[in-house]
């Protein structure tokens, strides 16, 4: 049985703004083929389930409708792993400047 998400929960909705094949004429073919999609976050207006067509109230106070796709959506952007191609640059330029620190 689908789990209910309570009214007032911070969620994200998704909507297709323009379907694939109905994009602006100037866009390249790989863009032309895919839809223009929209994602907006806000507070859920009514108790609903994931995948339902719902209404949200955004941070600007607007009422928007779309498919409920995420609950309390996370910020997942990060730094990621150290990049080996950058790790030794500091040591290299310090050596050029005649310094010896930095494990060179």
């Amino acid at each position: 049985m689908a789990e209910y998400i309570e009214k007032g929960t911070w969620v994200e909705i998704h909507r297709i703004v323009l379907p694939g094949g109905q994009r602006a004429p100037q866009v390249p073919v790989e863009t032309q083929q895919v839809p223009l999609e929209m994602r907006v976050k806000g507070f859920l207006a009514e108790r609903s389930c994931l995948g339902d067509e719902v209404e949200i109230v955004t941070l600007a106070g607007r009422h928007l409708r779309g498919l409920l796709t995420d609950v309390n959506p996370a910020y997942t952007h990060s730094f990621g792993s150290p990049v080996p191609e950058l790790l030794t640059i500091g040591r290299e330029v310090r050596m050029i400047l005649g310094e010896t620190r930095g494990g060179g």
Partner: protein, 474 residues
């Protein structure tokens, strides 16, 4: 409800939506077929330098530090001929409230919006400007909506834009995140029409006049510090506002002989509206994908007349590679203790190359930094590049190929800027201007004068290019 209105209907209504949302009747500035009174458009904002400073100081915008990059200058001199190697300074714009110079642009727009009684502001931007508008709106107690191009059709979010969305939401703004494509403008128009909010476009006169304090301040700071104006100021160049506003501010400070350089990351070969290329650019702005089209035709913006007109101000236009910028970002952190960027580091890479040509007593200023962090950092961009199948390696930056290969220099001597042929850019501008008229008759005197001013050329030059264009287009 956003985008419930049909695409064609909204675009047909574009002029009326714009008029209502910007509060400027651009028609009153038209003086010819092509010509308009640019200086009057800017003067009519009513903001001179003291008035702009007064508005900006109320929210802690401006008066950012000027920092001399002693170690980077030493590195430049280690590579330069005797007597060469200019002193390099940077204006630490990351010290602004939302972490970039974009606060200067947003401050006057939000102030005007509030003054004119708008309930909220809308900005179409995937960059720092969104956070700046959101920050200013928060302080003004206004509502704010930011429309971003944020992710590709696979749902992969460009990490720098994800960070901007987070920042906007932290300031209490609604963020509309879209997939790739120029139809963002349609959604933007829908939002303006539905809300009746102010269009805090990057390209209104307010947005440009707000940057003048940057050039004005840095001229004064350099003079105070060294007893002279800077010889050269380098601005990272995308839509043209940064270069335009900074150059105007320098002139207002009296630094009329300072050379103004625009620097962009070379993204040749990548298409800005391509769903495939979107996450293979590794740079979201400050690149040629924006600077070339906006320099050769500024009036492609989201207002009828763009107040950013870079060709009027650029003395030199240069490009650097992706790998060179990532290299210099690391050098800035490790030699100067400044973890910043990406934006200003494009100018930094150009300054590093250019300073080697200049005398040791000359002064180069990189006119901005921006805050860095998760998503914005080179680590985030290079990890995404690798995920997208872009090769990342050390080597000769001449082998850098946007979207395929990011080559990070092996030695600082490999950082060599490339000059853009300004003559070619001027010619391209005149062609775009002529194409925009749809008129066969010869241009009026005032149009010729306007195009000469726009391209910093002469009437004779404009006539020659126009005649050639008419001959070849039949």
């Amino acid at each position: 409800m956003t985008a419930a209105l049909s695409y064609d209907a909204v675009l047909a209504d574009r002029d009326a939506i714009m008029r209502a949302s910007v509060g400027i009747d651009y028609q009153q500035y038209v003086t010819g077929v092509l010509a308009f009174d640019y200086e009057r458009l800017l003067a009519d904002t009513g903001y001179d330098i003291p008035r702009t400073q007064a508005v900006q100081s109320r929210t802690g915008v401006g008066n950012t530090p000027l920092i001399e990059l002693h170690h980077i200058t030493a590195l430049v001199r280690s590579l330069s001929a005797p007597g060469k190697g200019a002193r390099i300074f940077v204006k630490d714009e990351a010290a602004n409230p939302s972490g970039s110079f974009k606060d200067r642009r947003a401050s006057l727009s939000v102030c005007e919006a509030q003054h004119r009684g708008y309930e909220g502001v809308v900005a179409a931007t995937s960059g720092n400007y969104g956070a700046a508008v959101a920050s200013q709106a928060a302080k003004a107690g206004m509502r704010c909506i930011v429309v971003q191009e944020a992710f590709d059709s696979q749902g992969i979010v460009q990490p720098e834009i994800a960070e901007k969305a987070r920042a906007c939401e932290a300031y209490g703004a609604e963020v509309i995140r879209l997939s790739v494509g120029p139809e963002l403008f349609y959604v933007f128009l829908c939002v303006l029409k539905e809300t009746g909010y102010f269009n805090a476009s990057l390209y209104t006169p307010y947005s440009i006049v707000g940057i003048e304090t940057l050039g004005y301040e840095l001229a004064g700071q350099v003079q105070q510090h060294t007893g002279r104006f800077p010889d050269l100021v380098i601005a990272t160049h995308a839509g043209g506002g940064n270069v335009t506003g900074t150059a105007r501010g320098l002139r207002k400070a009296g630094a009329v002989d300072t050379t103004v350089v625009a620097a962009s990351v070379d993204l040749a070969g990548l298409h800005m509206a391509s769903d495939r290329d979107f996450n293979r650019k590794s740079f979201t702005t400050g690149h040629t994908g924006f600077s070339m089209p906006f320099t050769t035709w500024p009036d492609r913006a989201d207002v009828p007349r763009n107040a950013a007109r870079p060709l009027r101000y650029i003395d030199r236009f240069v490009t650097v590679t992706q790998g060179e910028v990532f290299y210099m970002t690391q050098v800035l952190a490790e030699l100067e203790g400044l973890e910043r960027g990406p934006a200003g580091n494009t100018s930094l890479a150009a300054a590093f190359s250019m300073a080697q040509e200049l005398n040791a007593d000359q002064i180069v200023v990189i006119q901005e930094t921006e805050y860095t962090g998760a998503g914005k950092h080179p680590l985030a961009q290079l990890n995404l590049a690798k995920q997208m199948g872009v090769e990342v390696r050390r080597g000769d930056p001449r082998d850098n190929k946007p979207g395929q290969r990011i080559v990070i220099p092996e030695h600082p001597s490999q950082i060599v800027l490339v000059d853009v042929d300004l003559e070619h850019v001027r010619r391209s501008y005149v062609h775009h201007a002529l194409e925009s008229t749809h008129v066969e008759q010869p241009l009026s005197e005032i149009d010729l004068e306007f195009l000469a001013a726009e391209t910093r050329s002469s009437r004779a030059y404009v006539e020659e290019v126009a005649n050639e264009w008419h001959r070849t287009t039949g």
